[in-house]
């Protein structure tokens, strides 16, 4: 599995995801600077976490206009899988590859902690190594993770199975206390219609190594490896 990690000015989880991709797939990902206008042939494109352009104006907004994103949008259109983590998710919504927006957290505070997520379906490139309904523990670290979309849009996403993850209690209960940021319907991650593009706020790359206290995040990279090799 050959992956490209896009590096924007202000990306800061680019190395973290590079390490995880390398560890899981054994293949060195290519790191692509945002000013590049072309991309080599890759099986997966990753938009990493961080604060591209300082999160100024709107998080992800300026990065979504960078040169390389034109190519990313084109590839996504051609079916190349794209994974956006945290700031990467914000870039994906700003570029129109995913519906909705990520607003400031409801309590206006940055939040960094482990949360529990329910994997809504195992029928995707990104989640095949998980069980449907499985609860996994993965950290979040963001200021703008409050997922918003109109009620109709949310119904449509649910109807299409485009909700990838929801914030839940450790026992799987779906309640407001499990929601770290005020997201609509506890949504932590969404797919595009074809389920080839995934954006999520939590950082699976941060719990993919037992020495760091957990490996629940590894499943996502293993799923991709199985699906794309």
């Amino acid at each position: 599995m050959k992956a490209a990690v896009i590096v924007f000015p202000g990306s800061n989880c680019d190395r973290d995801v590079q390490v995880t991709l390398r560890d899981v797939s054994g293949v060195e990902p290519v790191m692509v600077w945002h000013k590049e206008s072309s991309l080599e042939d890759v099986d997966l494109i990753v938009l990493p976490g961080g604060f591209s352009y300082g999160d100024y104006l709107r998080s992800g907004a300026m990065a979504s206009k960078s040169l390389v994103m034109r190519e990313v949008v084109k590839r996504a259109g051609a079916g190349v899988p794209v994974l956006g983590i945290c700031n990467g998710f914000q870039v994906l919504t700003e570029s129109g590859l995913l519906p909705g927006v990520l607003m400031r957290n409801a309590n206006l505070k940055f939040v960094c902690k482990d949360v529990h997520l329910k994997v809504e379906s195992s029928q995707s490139l990104f989640t095949s190594a998980y069980e449907a309904g499985q609860v996994v523990r993965i950290p979040v670290a963001h200021h703008d993770g409050n997922y918003f979309a109109g009620e109709d849009e949310l119904d449509r996403l649910e109807g299409n199975g485009q909700i990838a993850f929801r914030y839940v209690q450790p026992d799987g209960a779906l309640d407001p206390d499990a929601n770290p940021n005020g997201s609509a319907r506890n949504i932590a991650g969404v797919y595009n219609e074809r389920k080839t593009v995934l954006g999520l706020m939590p950082h699976p790359e941060r719990l993919a190594d037992p020495q760091l206290g957990g490996t629940d995040g590894k499943g996502m990279f293993q799923s991709l490896l199985e699906s794309l090799s």
Binding site: L57, A61, R104, L108, N146, G182
Partner: protein, 80 residues
């Protein structure tokens, strides 16, 4: 020529910042505040001096970057 762009959230879009201000004001004992919405004010100094040109120029910037037209409206005001 100067332009001021006001970017505001569309009706029905969640506004966590406005909500938080509303709460904070009432915690500070300011009464009679019924709703608060927070938007952005972006001031631009332009080399363009023709108002019509400037306006269409700034509108293009809004569409492309300054506002997210899925959730935001913008209005443009020109000065001098």
């Amino acid at each position: 020529m100067k332009a001021r762009v006001y970017v505001t959230l569309k009706n029905g879009v969640l506004d966590p910042q406005g909500k938080a201000i509303e709460h904070a004001l009432s915690a500070l004992d300011f009464q009679g505040v019924e709703q608060v919405r927070q938007g952005k004010l972006i001031e631009l100094d332009l080399s363009e001096s023709d108002p019509e040109q400037a306006r269409s120029h700034v509108a293009a910037m809004c569409e492309k970057l300054l506002a997210n037209t899925v959730i935001e409206n913008y209005t443009i005001e020109l000065a001098d």
